[in-house]
Symmetry: C2
Subunit: 484 residues, 2 copies
């Protein structure tokens, strides 16, 4: 009976872990040229009062800027999201390129509680009291204050907000809530509707599954079978030594927790590869080949029809190592450490537990994963235990609107572009269609993964991405012309 109890408890804990996948960037070794780091004194709390301030970091580049008092070049303002700001500079080369064409200054603002912008230094994550200022609203407050200040130096130049993923949500919300500071926003792959009551939590994993299904017909069945095998093996402690051997884990598989983490480790990789299924080599946590989903699926090609369970597991191990270890440098697999690589993850985990609860689940029928329905009560208990907070599930709905309300706030917004990628699972919460023509525009770029349009143009880019970048350029010109 003791064993059964332990398993039951572990399942609960395991499914309580919120899984909000995001691209895990590696810190770039050096930035593109001429980005200068600066610090700005902002208020810890913008919505009450207080004399507490902190230093937020931003980078700016003025080499392209049209320095003309009467007709200054615009400011391209990137709304930093969940990570050190350098990573977004490194992975948004299109913004830099367009700035050079349009005489724009470029500013990248770092999101509070990420990178080096810590409101309470190295005590920022030590208590709920210190963490309570981590929210999208407060981050937008920082950006508003910073911009108000910068505009003085830039002759009140018009501002275009940019962002990808959560940064795209911030860019869109920035234009919605501060239309006087920002003339328009490019909100790439921004799942602004991915909240309770306005999203189907299982759609995300259906899209991931579909990305693999499109590659070849055997891929999803093998991944599904591998999950079924793991569902059995992880619950049978006499088979754990085999899991340890096949998956070459860095830690011994002697607890249910480690055994089941193998499944999480696999699912993270499968999801991230779908999100970052770019048509050329990229460099995230580790270098990844072009079209990683195709490469991953190819690992099942050599399986015989009568492949053993162990062979199928070995194949999925190789498939996910396209993400974790394409260089072959890792000598073992860190199945226990995927959730724990630095402050960035902590900040995102806190946001996922407070104002940004984005429901994701799987039913095991319409997707290739084991069934793990989204459960708000599991999230609740995890968040209370981990951060001492209760999720505010209707925060985004109330403050920024939802897709289900026909009179939602986007109806009142203008000058926001929402590009989405057809391969990107986050399109499940995106603005896929225009809300009103020429003003709040959403569309899908065929063949594109998560905010591919923001990356440096590449000969392998799908046609739709080339078109999208051109649309961005034309729209920005139009917004700037009509703002005057």
């Amino acid at each position: 009976m003791k064993w059964v109890f332990l398993v039951a408890l572990s399942i609960t804990l395991c499914s309580a872990m919120p899984r909000f996948p995001r691209i895990q960037y590696k810190m770039p070794e050096q930035l593109p040229p001429n980005y200068v780091q600066s610090w700005f004194t902002s208020f810890v709390d913008h919505f009450g009062s207080g004399i507490e301030t902190f230093q937020m970091r931003y980078f700016s580049k003025n080499t392209y800027w049209t320095n003309n008092t009467q007709a200054p070049g615009p400011i391209f303002f990137y709304c930093g999201n969940e990570g050190a700001i350098e990573m977004f500079i490194e992975n948004s080369g299109w913004i830099d390129q367009l700035a050079s064409q349009m005489g724009a200054a470029v500013v990248y603002a770092e999101h509070r509680y990420f990178g080096q912008s810590m409101p309470f230094g190295n005590r920022s994550f030590t208590s709920p009291q210190n963490l309570k200022y981590l929210s999208p609203h407060q981050a937008l407050g920082d950006y508003a204050y910073l911009l108000q200040n910068l505009k003085i130096m830039y002759y009140d130049a018009p501002v275009i907000a940019w962002g990808g993923s959560y940064g795209g949500m911030l860019a869109a919300w920035f234009r919605m809530k501060y239309p006087n500071l920002v003339v328009g926003a490019i909100a790439s792959s921004a799942p602004i509707f991915h909240f309770m009551g306005s999203v189907n939590p299982e759609e995300f994993n259906e899209i991931v599954t579909n990305d693999y299904a499109m590659v070849d017909t055997n891929c999803v069945p093998y991944i599904k079978t591998a999950h079924d095998i793991l569902g059995v093996w992880t619950r049978n402690s006499t088979l754990w030594w085999q899991l340890q051997e096949i998956f070459n884990t860095c830690t011994e598989v002697i607890t249910y927790s480690t055994a089941s983490n193998i499944i999480n480790w696999i699912d993270n990789a499968l999801t991230y590869m779908a999100m970052t299924d770019y048509p050329y080599e990229t460099n995230f946590l580790e270098p990844m080949p072009a079209n990683p989903v195709n490469v991953a699926c190819s690992k099942f090609n050599n399986l015989a029809d009568d492949a053993t369970d162990a062979e199928i597991l070995a194949a999925i191990r190789d498939a996910v190592n396209v993400y974790y270890n394409s260089t072959g440098n890792n000598t073992c697999n860190l199945v226990d450490q995927q959730y724990d690589n630095g402050l960035g993850d902590n900040g995102w985990d806190y946001l996922s537990c407070s104002t940004l609860v984005m429901p994701i689940g799987s039913d095991g029928v319409h997707d290739m994963f084991l069934p793990q329905p989204f459960s708000i009560s599991a999230i609740d208990s995890y968040c209370l235990q981990t951060w001492g907070v209760a999720p505010v599930t209707d925060y985004a709905k109330i403050f920024y609107g939802s897709s289900t309300n026909p009179l939602g706030p986007l109806r009142y917004a203008s000058n926001i572009l929402f590009p989405n990628g057809s391969l990107d699972p986050w399109q499940s919460g995106g603005v896929l269609e225009s809300i009103h023509a020429n003003s709040v525009i959403g569309f899908i770029m065929q063949g594109a993964a998560h905010h591919l349009d923001l990356r440096t143009p590449n000969p392998s880019d799908p046609e739709d991405v080339v078109t999208a970048r051109n649309t961005e350029k034309q729209l920005i010109k139009y917004w700037l012309a009509t703002a005057k």
Copy 2:
């Protein structure tokens, strides 16, 4: 030398006292019929996360409401301002009357930190930590949450936001920031531009002066002369016994602080009478006659051409007692206590020190007061000393826009009506002209004081107020029709 030093110190302290006049209502003995008190559990901090909640109070009245699932009557939602919510129910009879005509439900929400809506009970004002959640942004967060909840009960009925004075600012901002929750706003006498950099701080007192000048040509010169006399007498301690006798003060005039408080006591009354110069009897702190400014000016009528200084001071004492003591019940004058009558004033003082620093000053040339230029450094030191906070003077400008920015956020708003009174000094920060026709409309009601339009219709109302109420009714109908 010691005496000189004391005086100098006192002058500094005295002028450091922020003077942000507001109508001082008396708590009504009973409410209009059928208003039911309820409590709503709201979050202490809407913009981070946390599990702390508090009980906010609201009143609602459903007797007029068209209870029809398909076409429910609208909700008239009053955005409570700085005081116990009963006072605004009592003094906004027009909202009730229009609700009866339009089949509307009426909801009056109490502003946090006022009345009985105390986030930390009777410890709400005891520390900067407990006070930091007192701000317009947080109050609007309460209203958004409350409305989201109420709309379920009211079949998602469309909502009209109402408010007068600071409540009008909240109503306008509510529509600007939450257009999905509110289809339109009546923002009566709302000085949403009365902030640093977008208002002339001395205009307020010029308008007050003008209200008295319009009554008769002698009134302002007498008030001015009385101020000049007081400027001398309060600084000469050998004359304090005479001040005590003439002004019949409840406390002895034995300090410069009490002596100079006589001037503040006078100026408050002169200002409040201008703000509440209604054409019929009203009942604020004490009952006031119709057209109190006229009645006050009449107190100078019997002065001889060679009236003594003491006679002129006695006349201004009688003039301001039109405000403080028209019943004659007070046996002495509480010149030291005007700033200290209950929690409502504390909350307003804190707001004036944090997010709502509304600059007011006098130059003694274009107004009838002693020169007291607006000084942000004086405000700074007062606020730090009193509340431990530093004013955030650009809060409203950044979050809600200002009149000086041609691309201000009102350009992006719609469905807001800004009625202003020609007698009301707060028009100095009001929206006096339409920003765009049929959508964001400002105008002046000739002969009206502070948000007279919201009060119960009265045969003595000026014609412009009757017209304004009709405009409000027609616009609300139009907003409701176009919202569907």
